[in-house]
C-alpha cells in the first residue's frame, strides 16, 4: 500500500509547492481542458513541454510521473485491443495472420492514451505538490458559491481533512486486525466463498467498531476544545494570491488558448 504513487504528496519545498492551492486547482481545470480540445500532435507536444517544465519546477522528478502511469497500463492494453477489433477505417497498416490492423485504430488509440497520460501527469503534479490540507482549503474555496443553496462547505471541508488525517491510522489498524485474524487461521487469499465471506467479516466488523470508537472519542475531544459545528471560527491557514499565482493561471489560460486556436488553424 505504500507503493501507491498516484495522489501522494511529496513534501519538499519548490516553486510549485509554494503556489496557492486555489491557483493550482484552477490551473488543473484549465490544463485538462487544454488536453481535451486539440486534435493535433503538435499541441500535445507543446503541453508535454509545459508539464515537463512544471515538473522541474516542482522538484519531484520524471520518475515519479512514469510510476504513476503504471496502474493504467492494463487499461491502455485493453483499449488498444478493443480499438483494433472495432475500428476498421483508414488504410491497412499491417496484417497479423489474416487479420488486418487499420491505421485509424492505432492512431486513435495512441491519441486517447497520450491524452490520458497527460491528464494523469497534470493531476499527479497537483497532488504531489499540494499538501492534502491545503487542497481541502482550495476545494472549500471553490465550493463557496454553493453556500447560497446552504451547502455546508466548511463542515464538508472539516470532514475531508479529518478523513485525510486518519487514513494512515486506519491503514495501520487494518494491517493489525488482518494479522490478528491470520493468527487465528484466517486465510485472506484462498478458500471457498463462505470462508472468504467469514474472512472479510472478521476484518470489517472489528474495523468498524474501532472506527466508531475513534469517531466518538474524536468528537468528544473536538467538543472539549470548543468546536461547535456551524459556529464561526477563525482561520489559521489564510490563502493568499500572489503575483506568481496570477502568472501561473495566466500561463495555463494561454495554454488553453493555444490549444483552442489549434482546432481552427492547424
Amino acid at each position: 500500500m505504500n507503493n501507491m504513487v498516484f495522489g501522494k504528496y511529496i513534501p519538499v519545498d519548490s516553486l510549485m509547492h509554494r503556489l496557492d492551492p486555489r491557483a493550482k486547482l484552477i490551473g488543473l481545470f484549465l490544463m485538462i481542458a487544454a488536453v481535451f480540445v486539440p486534435k493535433s500532435w503538435w499541441v500535445f507536444l507543446f503541453i508535454a513541454i509545459l508539464i515537463t517544465i512544471a515538473l522541474l519546477c516542482a522538484k519531484i522528478g520524471i520518475k515519479m510521473i512514469v510510476q504513476s502511469f503504471k496502474p493504467m497500463i492494463m487499461m491502455m492494453i485493453f483499449l488498444l485491443v478493443i480499438n483494433t477489433l472495432t475500428i476498421r477505417t483508414g488504410e491497412v497498416m499491417f496484417m497479423i495472420g489474416t487479420y488486418a490492423i487499420y491505421r485509424d485504430a492505432i492512431f486513435n488509440t495512441l491519441f486517447v492514451i497520450v491524452r490520458l497520460l497527460l491528464m494523469i501527469s497534470i493531476t499527479t503534479l497537483l497532488t504531489a505538490t499540494t499538501n492534502p490540507l491545503d487542497l481541502t482549503l482550495g476545494i472549500e474555496w471553490l465550493l463557496k458559491p454553493l453556500e447560497i443553496i446552504h451547502f455546508p462547505t466548511h463542515e464538508v471541508a472539516m470532514m475531508v481533512s479529518i478523513a485525510l488525517r486518519f487514513i494512515p491510522t486506519i491503514i495501520e489498524e487494518t494491517i493489525r486486525i488482518m494479522n490478528a485474524q491470520k493468527s487465528r487461521g484466517v486465510d485472506f487469499e484462498n478458500g471457498r466463498l463462505s470462508q472468504k465471506i467469514a474472512a472479510i467479516l472478521s476484518l470489517i466488523v472489528p474495523l468498524f467498531s474501532v472506527a466508531f470508537e475513534r469517531a466518538y472519542e474524536l468528537a468528544d475531544a473536538m467538543e472539549a476544545r470548543g468546536y461547535v459545528p456551524g459556529a464561526k471560527r477563525s482561520r489559521y491557514h489564510i490563502l493568499k494570491f500572489r503575483f506568481t499565482d496570477y502568472l501561473f493561471i495566466l500561463i495555463c489560460m494561454a495554454a488553453l488558448a493555444v490549444s483552442i486556436a489549434s482546432r481552427f488553424y492547424l
Binding site: 488525517r165 476544545r225 470548543g226 471560527r233 491557514h237
Partner: protein
C-alpha cells in the same frame, strides 16, 4: 468558595446501574487532585460530567460558581481543558501546528496572532522542532504533549487528565508526568488527574478514591495508601512501600518510615540495637 463544587451527582448510562452515585466533593483552586479507582468505578464518567460532555441530570456541578449546564457550557469550556487517554483519537489537525491551532480557531483568535501562540506553547511542551510533523511520525508521548500544548494555548484554569499516560510506554509516561508536575507547580492552574499510577498519586495534593460509582475516600495520598487492606478490598494497587511494611510486619519487624530509604535506615538501627 471552592473552584469546583460537586454536589450529589448521579449518572447512569442505562437504567441498570449508576455509573456515578451520589458523589459530593470540592476542589480548591490551584490544587493537584488525583482520582483513582478500578475500571468502571465512575472516574471517566465523572470527568465527562465536569466537562459537560455528559449532561448532569441529578445534583449539580459548579465551576467558579457557574453551574455546568447547556447554557453555560461554552463559557465553561473556555476555562477548562481535557487530555484524553488515546493519543491518536484527540489529534485533530494534520500537523502539530495545525492541531494546536484547532482550539484557537474555535476561540476565533486572529490568524496573525496564532503563529506566536503556537510557537510559545510548542516550546512549553518541548516540541519546537516538531511543528510540521504529522501524527504518524510522532511517538505516543509526543502526541500527548501536542494535546497538552493545544489545551494550554487556550489558557484554561482547569486541566483534566483522563488516564493521559495509561497508553504510553515508560518513556512517554515519564515525559507526560514531568509536564504535569511542572503544571501543578503553577498556582493558577488546577489539575484533576484520573490515573492508575501510584507514583503520580503520591505527587498530588489530594486523592479521591471512587468505588462502584461512590466516593470511597478523599484524603491526602499518604493517608489513602496507608490502609493496604482497604485498597485491596476495592481492587486497587498497594504502593510498594506498604507492601514492604506488610511483609516485614509478618516477620515481626515494625517499620514506620514513609519511603524505602527511611525503611533501610530503620532496619540498620534495629540491627545495631541487637
Amino acid at each position: 468558595m471552592s473552584l469546583i463544587e460537586i454536589k450529589n451527582v448521579d449518572y447512569s448510562y442505562n437504567d441498570t446501574r449508576k455509573a456515578v452515585d451520589g458523589i459530593t466533593f470540592d476542589i480548591e483552586k490551584g490544587s493537584y487532585v488525583t482520582i483513582i479507582g478500578h475500571n468502571g468505578s465512575g472516574k471517566s464518567t465523572l470527568a465527562k460530567l465536569i466537562t459537560g460532555l455528559l449532561p448532569v441530570k441529578n445534583g449539580s456541578i459548579l465551576i467558579d460558581g457557574l453551574e455546568v449546564n447547556e447554557q453555560n457550557i461554552s463559557a465553561i469550556r473556555k476555562r477548562l481543558g481535557i487530555v484524553f487517554q488515546n493519543p491518536d483519537n484527540q489529534f485533530i489537525g494534520s500537523t502539530v501546528k495545525d492541531d494546536i491551532a484547532f482550539g484557537l480557531e474555535n476561540k476565533q483568535v486572529e490568524s496573525a496572532d496564532m503563529e506566536g501562540i503556537i510557537g510559545e506553547y510548542a516550546e512549553k511542551v518541548g516540541l519546537t522542532e516538531y511543528l510540521d510533523y504529522e501524527p504518524q511520525n510522532l511517538s505516543g508521548g509526543q502526541k500527548q504533549r501536542v494535546a497538552i500544548a493545544g489545551i494550554l494555548a487556550m489558557k484554561p484554569d482547569i486541566i483534566i487528565f483522563d488516564e493521559a499516560t495509561s497508553m504510553l510506554d515508560p518513556k512517554g509516561k515519564k515525559e507526560i508526568k514531568k509536564l504535569m508536575y511542572d503544571l501543578a507547580g503553577d498556582d493558577t492552574i488546577t489539575i484533576i488527574s484520573i490515573t492508575h499510577d501510584i507514583e503520580e498519586v503520591l505527587q498530588s495534593d489530594d486523592c479521591i478514591v471512587l468505588n462502584k460509582g461512590k466516593l470511597f475516600m478523599h484524603d491526602k495520598p499518604q493517608k489513602v495508601f496507608a490502609d493496604a487492606e482497604k485498597l485491596r478490598k476495592i481492587d486497587l494497587d498497594v504502593p510498594f512501600v506498604e507492601l514492604v511494611r506488610e511483609v516485614f510486619a509478618k516477620n515481626k519487624i515494625k517499620l514506620k518510615a514513609h519511603d524505602l530509604e527511611g525503611m533501610v535506615a530503620e532496619l540498620c538501627r534495629y540491627r545495631s540495637d541487637h
